[in-house]
């Protein structure tokens, strides 16, 4: 530490600096995610659960998950497997995996004191927040598509990529089944993004990773409980849990857009205020401790 020259102190400031922004934050948020165990615990679970489901089906010679859409078709075509997985993933698995990262992404930097490290560079607070939101949403989408993808491949390899009977009773060929599965997954991403936004809010408010992860899952389960109370049926269309079924509109002929459109604005009603609240908190907060 005593021999080498020091980087030029005053020269670089004379030319107008090129300022990094959301993109720089986003890229590094992804790299940070890729360097953390929890990312792979989430992703690993998303890959493992469909495989376990398939193995369970193989271990049993007949029958399937009763009461779930496409549950009766799982042994007829591989296309039914990811759809069944979507249906049961909504209860707690996918919200939990989403919360694992979204609930952690701000709070963990609070707890480790690294927030002050990145907030004393050349990016503004809203850049940091936006980068984190995008990273959490990217992870959420990656997990969901990995989950559906592995279920589809495993299901198809075992039961074949045969034509699928839609929820309207019509038969569709493998090509169309693949497209509709993809579109259905995109529709499923809406409530997932709302869960991620709630996770980000709790992560920003609580400054505690565990509290935010558990809190997000609690919110998700609480909403399901409200949905199951028949006296409160009037609320159902506006509950987040209901939006986890909206994708089924895609698997009808003709396509039932109503639940999907409603899901879009209902999810936005959850996600946007949560993100707005989180952003204003993040912009104004004192970064102390650490």
């Amino acid at each position: 530490m005593s021999t080498v020259a020091v980087p030029h102190a005053a020269t670089a400031t004379e030319r107008p600096p090129r300022r990094p922004g959301v993109r720089a934050v986003y890229r590094w948020e992804l790299r940070k995610l890729l360097a953390q165990k929890r990312t792979f615990i989430g992703l690993g679970s998303a890959l493992a659960v469909p495989l376990i489901f398939v193995v369970a089906l193989l271990a049993d010679s007949s029958g399937g998950p009763d009461g779930l859409p496409f549950g009766a078709l799982v042994r007829e075509t591989g296309f039914a497997v990811p759809l069944v997985c979507l249906a049961f993933g909504a209860f707690w698995l996918l919200p939990l995996i989403t919360a694992l990262v979204a609930g952690d992404i701000v709070a963990t930097e609070d707890q480790n004191g690294t927030l002050k490290t990145i907030l004393t560079r050349s990016v503004d607070r809203w850049h940091v927040f936006a980068g984190k939101v995008l990273a959490a949403l990217t992870y959420t989408a990656a997990v969901l598509f990995a989950y559906v993808g592995v279920a589809l491949v495993a299901g198809g390899l075992i039961w074949g990529f045969d034509p699928l009977t839609t929820l309207s009773g019509t038969q569709i060929g493998p090509g169309r089944a693949l497209v509709l599965t993809g579109l259905g997954t995109l529709a499923y991403l809406l409530p997932m993004a709302a869960i991620a936004s709630i996770g980000l809010l709790l992560s920003t408010l609580t400054r505690n990773s565990a509290a935010a992860v558990v809190g997000t899952l609690m919110v998700s389960i609480f909403v399901q409980i409200i949905g199951s109370i028949s006296a409160l049926d009037a609320l159902d269309p506006y509950l987040l849990s209901t939006q986890f079924n909206a994708w089924q509109g895609i698997l009808r002929e003709p396509t039932d857009w109503d639940p999907i459109l409603r899901s879009a604005w209902v999810c936005a009603l959850y996600a946007l205020p949560a993100l707005g609240w989180a952003l204003t908190t993040f912009l104004r907060r004192d970064v102390a401790g650490g």
Binding site: M1, A10, N112, G113, T117, R121, G290
Partner: protein, 298 residues
Amino acid sequence: MLPIEARGLVKRYGDITAVDHVDLTVGPGDVYGYLGPNGAGKTTSLRMLLGLIRPDEGSARLFGRDPLLEGARALDGVAGFVEAPRFYPYLSGRRNLELVAALDGDGAQYRIDEALETVDLADRAKDKVDGYSHGMRQRLGIAGALLRAPRLLLLDEPTTGLDPAGMRDMRALIRRLADQGMTVLLSSHLMGEVEELCDRVAIVGNGRVLYEGALRELIASAAARYELRTTDDVHAAEIAREFGEVDEIAGGLSFAGDERTAAELSVALGQAGVGLTALVPHAPTLEELFFEMTEGPR
């Protein structure tokens, strides 16, 4: 444009006023010591300068820019850290620097090798920060600051927790950065460190600035004392009292006065037939001044 101009900064936490109307003026090229006991509000002040926390009153400007109003732009040409520098433990030292350099832009990534060399971490750059010692993290913090090619460096007790060799190296590094024209604000509770490195100081206690100005003037302004040993202390004390305040100390006398009165006293003692065996000037140390200011006269 002054590197730091803070006026009337106040930060309260409930009933406690952590920072109480603090004014700070740091000029270009200053190596400025921000000196106070733990809990005096040094770190809170630095956080406000860096825009990490909002002052309840007052404002801070770095090169004329207020971090509250201009966000990251106010930190152009400014780098530093508060409390211990923090990094991502699961990334290597180099990856951590790459990350912060990406958030700096402006060619910061091309300074990584040089910064690692400067703080003597090039050999360990590939290791995860998780395995770094406190001193290594502290040096990585300096490296991270240097990536911004700062004109103003804010350091919060950079030698705290370092071993003696680490402290010496850290001070030498700060000295070299200052010699290259970098303005440095250094918070510290170590008087020796501030005396060694700084030319200007602010002394704070209980959130208030008790003194602000040139270190040399501070020391000069305090009355110097002379330790006096004579062949006849009783007689000498009588004579000395005519020139200034005298205390009896073990083995002699302590006499308050400047060089001129010391010279006059020595002549007077000689004329009175009192032999002078020792006349030792004793300038007040920053430490004594500091305790006098923060705890009152002892």
